[in-house]
């Protein structure tokens, strides 16, 4: 079984190695001549304005949780799709009920304006 996943682990190792090498090499080889001007946070070349921490709108959170819910819905579709023929009509109706309830969820979010960006 682990031979099946060997390419995955190889890729994970290579990706980690490349990322680590990039960061360590740039920090080792790159010249460092800091001046006070260079240490200012860069903001389009002009002097920085506003607070250090920008607070995000709650809209991003709502979009993220909508994504999570429908992501989980999609996860349950994969095993169902691979077993579609074996499960027959029973599996079809079962998934239809599941998707109907999640369709109600989508309609609710839509009607509440959760899908609108500006409000």
């Amino acid at each position: 079984m682990f031979e099946t996943y060997l390419p995955v682990f190889l890729m994970l190792g290579v990706a980690t190695l490349v990322a680590t090498l990039m960061f360590t090499l740039t920090s080792l080889l790159g010249p460092k001549k800091p001046t006070p001007e260079k240490m200012i946070p860069y903001e389009a070349g002009s002097n920085t304005t506003g607070a250090r921490h920008l607070r995000l709108s709650v809209k991003f959170y709502l979009t993220a949780i909508l994504f999570v819910v429908f992501d989980i819905e999609a996860v349950f579709l994969y095993p169902w799709a691979s077993l579609f023929r074996e499960l027959g009509w029973f599996g079809f109706l079962e998934m239809l009920l599941f998707l109907t309830i999640l369709g109600v969820t989508l309609v609710y979010a839509w009607k509440k304006g959760a899908l609108e960006w500006e409000k």
Binding site: M1, F2, E3, Y5, F9, R52, H53, R55, L56, V58, K59, F60, Y61, L62, A64, I65, L66, F67, V68, V69, D71, I72, E73, V75, F76, Y78, P79, W80, S82, L83, E86, L87, G91, E94, M95, L97, F98, L99, I101, L102, V104, T105, Y108, A109, K112, G113, A114, K119
Partner: protein, 195 residues
């Protein structure tokens, strides 16, 4: 050492390191990144348990979506969350130690009870067809309850992010009524509050 033992040791090390980092990091974003490392290592541990589908879902949902959600929440809360100064740190530590001890003892009893000569796993255990077959035939009710749970999650999120509570609606109605009265009183009265 077999390849599965090696995988278990590496993944267990990273899972423990990630878990310790999650609870000990002072900066919330670093804690979230440690949680990401823990989740990826946990996916590797699922592979050692022949739960391939669960490992894939762990990466897809937890590493992909849940960590993103945590990062969003950290960005929403802002720098106020970076200070962890609370006077009850000692009590919290004691409680977590006691809870951890209870979980450890439970796991130890479970391990003692397991039969080492367990029967071999059936073919297809833990893969897409195996899990799907169990879920869509024997686990029908839990599967349908999942959709209702997701519906509740969306209602909660919309209520938190969009909805107005009854108190807020009352305040709004009062302010509207007051603004109308002041507008009727004419220019001599105080100007209506800006919308």
């Amino acid at each position: 050492m077999s390849s599965s033992t090696l995988l278990f040791c590496v993944c267990a090390f990273f899972a423990l390191a990630g878990a310790v980092g999650t609870v000990s990091a002072r900066r919330p974003l670093r804690a979230a990144m440690a949680l990401l490392a823990h989740i990826v290592a946990l996916a590797g541990l699922y592979l050692t348990l022949h739960a391939q589908l669960l490992a894939a879902i762990q990466l897809l949902v937890y590493a992909g979506a849940i960590v993103v959600l945590f990062v969003f929440v950290i960005m929403l809360i802002g720098p106020a969350s970076e200070t962890s100064g609370s006077g009850r740190a000692g009590m919290v530590r004691m409680t977590s130690l006691v809870l951890m001890g209870m979980v450890t003892v439970t796991i130890a009893f479970a391990i003692v009870d397991t039969d080492p000569a367990a029967p071999r796993l059936p073919a297809g255990y833990g893969d897409v067809e195996g899990v799907g077959g169990a879920l869509y035939t024997q686990g029908l009710v839990p599967f349908e309850i999942i959709s209702i749970t997701l519906l509740v999650a969306i209602i909660g999120a919309v209520a938190v992010a969009r909805g107005k509570t009854a108190v807020e609606k009352q305040i709004e109605a009062k302010e509207k009524a007051r603004a109308e009265v002041e507008a009727r009183l004419g220019e001599g009265a105080a100007p209506a509050p800006a919308e």
